[in-house]
């Protein structure tokens, strides 16, 4: 029984032979529907920010510099390539390309920044005044429109109510001394 199973194992190994691919010496194109590096078409983008408010990794940041100028930043270093942004884009301005060899020494190679000129409503111009509340501003839960572009971070909302004195109340806040000292 032992010998027959060993013979079977030899056949099992011999039949397929070597299956290792020659990649990266032979390029290996991604399949048709691959979710690779996303690409923003600034001609199509209307700056609605839908991608930013649906991004699970919070990798798309939006900041209004003034009434007319909106900056959108895509930070590729944190992207999970889920493709949700491309799904929700109403203008199909985002496409998931087939590029996947994204290792780089400089993070900026995979970032993308767009400066969009936003039109002001000709009636009174105040509907989207960003200081008052409107439907879009209710999304501030995730820092929408006030993202910190320099820090590449969404401003945390939940920390504000934490009292640092909580630390002092704890019994072991004084860190234990090192062994042997």
């Amino acid at each position: 029984m032992w010998l027959t199973s060993k013979i079977k194992q030899v056949l099992m190994v011999a039949k397929p032979g070597v299956v290792t691919l020659k990649y990266p010496f032979v390029p290996r194109p991604a399949p048709e529907n691959f979710r690779g590096q996303p690409y923003w078409d600034h001609h199509k983008c209307i700056g609605c920010g839908g991608c930013a408010s649906h991004c699970p990794a919070r990798t798309i940041l939006v900041r209004d510099l003034c009434q007319e100028l909106r900056v959108m930043v895509y930070d590729g270093s944190r992207c999970t390539y889920c493709g949700r942004c491309a799904d929700v884009c109403p203008e199909k301005a985002i496409t998931m390309t087939d590029r996947y060899e994204l290792a780089t020494g400089d993070k900026n190679d995979i970032n993308e920044t767009m400066e969009l000129f936003m039109a002001t409503c000709q009636r009174c111009g105040r509907c989207y005044d960003h200081e008052t509340t409107n439907a879009i501003d209710k999304m501030t839960r995730i820092g929408y429109k006030y993202d910190n572009l320099e820090m590449r971070a969404v401003l945390p909302v939940s920390s504000e109510q934490f009292d640092m004195k909580l630390y002092e109340k704890t019994e072991k806040f004084k860190r234990p001394e090192k062994m042997g000292e």
């Binding site: 029984m1 032992w2 027959t4 199973s5 060993k6 079977k8 194992q9 056949l11 099992m12 190994v13 039949k15 397929p16 299956v19 991604a30 399949p31 048709e32 529907n33 691959f34 979710r35 408010s53 649906h54 991004c55 699970p56 990794a57 919070r58 999970t80 390539y81 889920c82 493709g83 949700r84 799904d87 998931m96 839960r141 995730i142 945390p156 909302v157 939940s158 920390s159 109510q161 934490f162 009292d163 909580l166 630390y167 109340k169 704890t170 019994e171 072991k172 806040f173 860190r175 234990p176 001394e177 090192k178 062994m179």
Partner: protein
């Protein structure tokens, strides 16, 4: 077998005023509100009626009623029923009875909420730290709402987890946190007498990333599936599906039948690749690398198939609340059929080659023995339980997605050892292939695969859903919240109960069998460690284990 009405009636008859009320939003869900004093008796009563303990869910409702909530959940497998018993204790004196002495599997859940919510459980046999790092300051309970999601207390050195006492005359062998046989960090202290294992202690949760807290505070409903998927690198769709189903159950959302079929296909594809991966790893752990190479070779076309279907070879990103994101086109359908045909043929060859191999028999037969009674007592799940004579499978017992229309067998073995887990997993791959074929055959075309939500999800609804992952059952519990985000989201990965059974499996085995025994539960420490706390770099356990050993060795001199 008791029905819902009978269960409520029995509880009311026996415990009278301790049962405050009950709610049954769906035929197969029942939530009973009880007073905290009777929690242990009522849990025991449910187990006596045939309930199987799933998981406990603790939550912070201080803002609403100044209390900490606790929900113990049970499954009645033959009736396709989930029961949650909800209770609460005041936040200033959060003491309740431990149910662990009778239901040992609740041990971790209770330790978890002792760590994270500051609850106290009277009568808990092992009230030690489980989730939090050893240097986390006492008195800060990260799952309470007053604590921010990104809190990082300063790290401390030389704070140690105190291992369980070593039995008389035994030596401690540390396995992990970094060890060739563990593919993820966890620390097992194995107490050996010569070569024979006399006991063990576990300290894990070194990679917990605070996912639950993060999602509760920072993400919206439909962003969570993508994070849920990343709880585990192997069974991603499982977590996403389970989460989506929990929310759909809480909010009463119906999705199209076609979407449910596609979910079923994704889950089964995942099962095929996970079991092949495990088969390879198991071979590797017992030093049989031919199996490792060949089963991973067979697995690779499945990964490529996933790439063509969903756009990624893993973390498919297919499942969101309301359905799935991509449809299955006729071309993809043919593609799937071809690939699974190939896998089936090749796995048959591997099966024939390894089932007759006496070397594998000697390494796995009789190893990791746990009696069927102990498996039931410890509520172990998945292939680990099925290899030990416990016939449970969520797909059959609590049908979800399209499993109610599928015909498949649930392989169960009675040899109670690692060998049986190998067989269970190989046979389940063939069953998975069968299910995928049925799905593709019967798939209806009844509307969009992604259903738009008609109304906002109402707050404070409870939903529970379980999905049979390759490793066992995944349980997700969701309490819906305001602001388009869950109030509480609890994940229980299959490794969570199964790891608690590892000391049983190790007992009286040989030290050399530790890798394959731990490996036989297909442990996924990242799944288990998914917890609510933002990870702080511990490292403490490793250093201290060494220190302890050094001190011990000096004492012996």
């Amino acid at each position: 077998m008791p029905t819902k009405d009978q269960i409520i009636k029995t509880l009311k008859d026996r415990f009278g005023s301790a049962v405050i009320g009950s709610e049954s939003p769906k035929p197969e869900r029942l939530f009973v509100d009880i007073k905290s004093g009777k929690v242990r008796d009522i849990s025991n009563e449910l187990v006596a009626m045939g309930g199987r303990y799933l998981v406990s869910v603790g939550y912070d409702s201080i803002a609403d009623n100044g209390a900490l909530g606790m929900i113990h959940t049970f499954a009645f497998d033959r009736d396709s029923l989930y029961i949650g018993i909800r209770t609460s204790v005041p936040a200033d004196n959060p003491v309740m009875d431990s149910i662990t002495p009778d239901i040992p599997n609740a041990g971790w859940s209770e330790r978890e909420y002792a760590d994270l919510l500051g609850m106290k459980f009277t009568g808990h046999p092992k009230p030690k730290r489980l989730i939090l790092a050893d240097d986390w300051p006492e008195g800060i309970y990260p799952l309470r709402k007053e604590v921010p999601w990104n809190l990082m207390p300063p790290a401390a050195e030389d704070v140690a987890y105190q291992l369980d006492e070593c039995p008389e005359g035994c030596s401690i062998i540390p396995v992990g946190p970094y060890h060739p046989t563990l593919h993820e960090p966890a620390h097992f202290a194995v107490y050996v007498d010569g070569e024979t294992i006399k006991g063990s202690d576990y300290r894990g949760f070194m990679t917990h990333r605070g996912i639950e807290k993060l999602c509760q505070t920072q993400l919206t409903y439909n962003e969570v599936p993508f994070v849920a998927e990343r709880i585990c690198g192997i069974c991603g769709s499982v977590h996403a599906t389970s989460y989506a189903q929990a929310v759909e159950s809480a909010a009463d959302i119906t999705i199209s039948r076609r979407a449910e079929y596609i979910r079923t296909i994704m889950l089964e594809i995942e099962r095929i690749h996970s079991h092949l991966l495990w088969l390879g790893l198991a071979g590797h752990l017992i030093g049989f690398d031919t199996v490792f190479m060949q089963s991973w070779r067979i697995r690779e076309p499945i990964m490529w198939l996933g790439e063509r279907m969903t756009g990624n070879r893993k973390t498919y990103g297919m499942i969101v609340i309301g359905g799935v994101r991509r449809d299955i086109t006729p071309e993809i359908k043919d593609d799937i059929l071809n690939v699974i045909q190939k896998v089936e043929e090749e796995l048959l060859v591997v099966q024939k080659a390894i089932v007759g191999d006496t070397a594998i028999h000697r390494r796995t037969k009789g190893v990791g023995y746990v009696s069927t009674q102990d498996v039931v007592k410890w509520s172990l799940v998945g292939p680990v339980a099925r290899a030990r004579g416990v016939d449970i499978d969520v797909r059959r017992d609590h049908p979800y997605a399209a499993y109610d229309e599928m015909k498949f067998d649930v392989p169960v073995f009675n040899s109670n050892d690692v060998w049986a887990t190998v067989l269970v997993r190989i046979l389940e791959v063939f069953e998975a292939i069968k299910i995928i074929r049925q799905c593709l055959d019967k798939m209806p075309n009844d509307g969009p695969v992604l259903t738009e939500l008609a109304a906002p999800i109402e707050p404070m609804r409870h939903g529970i859903a379980a999905v049979e992952a390759p490793r066992g059952e995944v349980v997700h519990y969701v309490i819906t919240g305001k602001e388009n985000s869950p109030e509480r989201w609890r994940v229980r990965a299959p490794t969570y109960p199964n790891l608690q059974g590892v000391p049983l499996m190790l007992l009286n085995n040989q030290l050399a069998d530790v890798p394959i025994i731990i490996g036989s539960i297909d442990p996924c420490f990242s799944c288990t460690d998914r917890m609510e706390v933002v990870d702080i770099r511990t490292g403490g356990v490793k250093v201290l284990a060494q220190d302890e050993l050094e001190t011990l060795s000096r004492q012996i001199k």
